[in-house]
Homo-oligomer: 166 residues x 2
Amino acid sequence: MENEVKTSPVITPEQMLEHWQGHRSLTRRTIEAFPEDKLFTHTIGGMRPFSEMVIEMIKMAAPGAKGIATGEWGEWGTFEADGLSTTPKTKEELLELWDWSTDQINHWWAKIPAGRLQEKDVAFGQWEGLTWWHLFYFIDNEIHHRGQGYVYLRSLDIEPPFFWER
Amino acid sequence: MENEVKTSPVITPEQMLEHWQGHRSLTRRTIEAFPEDKLFTHTIGGMRPFSEMVIEMIKMAAPGAKGIATGEWGEWGTFEADGLSTTPKTKEELLELWDWSTDQINHWWAKIPAGRLQEKDVAFGQWEGLTWWHLFYFIDNEIHHRGQGYVYLRSLDIEPPFFWER
């Protein structure tokens, strides 16, 4: 029985992609909820503006999906985005990079070899672990910082999107 | 190839439990980082104090694990905790209930039948979905609100625990 439980699926790769993109859809709506200036300037307690948290998510998203799929991680924080600015300065540029990331994740996800998520790899040449752990880190880090964005919005008297809508 | 990917494991049940409890360990240290009074009173933007967010997590944790394991969910928000107060009024009482939940999760996790996480169920008689979705919701909701607790701590000039330490 114990062994049966251990080897039965928790979540399929297809469900995992849908789950990730569902969270990313919610984060996109959270970005949209910010007034343009507050997105890049509003902070609490010396923390980063929400735009910088979002750029961190973007640095993990497409490069991370590519790393998991191919083992090619590149250097943390650096990537190319088909001509888009990787240092967005407006909400529109940030959302363009977000949407590019969405497509990239779908592209690389389809190329993840069977069994790959149970393999060890060194993410971005720095963090060693099983690739599922890296994947969960990307998603959890997004949820964590988006939750912080919700506090920023509330402190600006703006209602965030519903957490359960993906 | 596509079919191979779809049926290969993302994460095993054993890894999933460790992942959940790792997050819960981090949340416990976040609770501990709050001064006693601020835990129950500090708010930003009309949001709940962190203690109330933690009680919400506790309402999902043990009762949710039991629901996934047995199909018996009980009524949302109501549960018994072996004589502990389920409406904690001090940090110590909150942490006692947290630690009770940790044990309960381990207890019920071992009883989850093979294949159960891919079954549909109506969580707490209210929310219909596959049980993996309910499980991820419990964890994601904790990450979301803990991230908000981090902003509360920063606004009190207190350094939160490192996000990557579980």
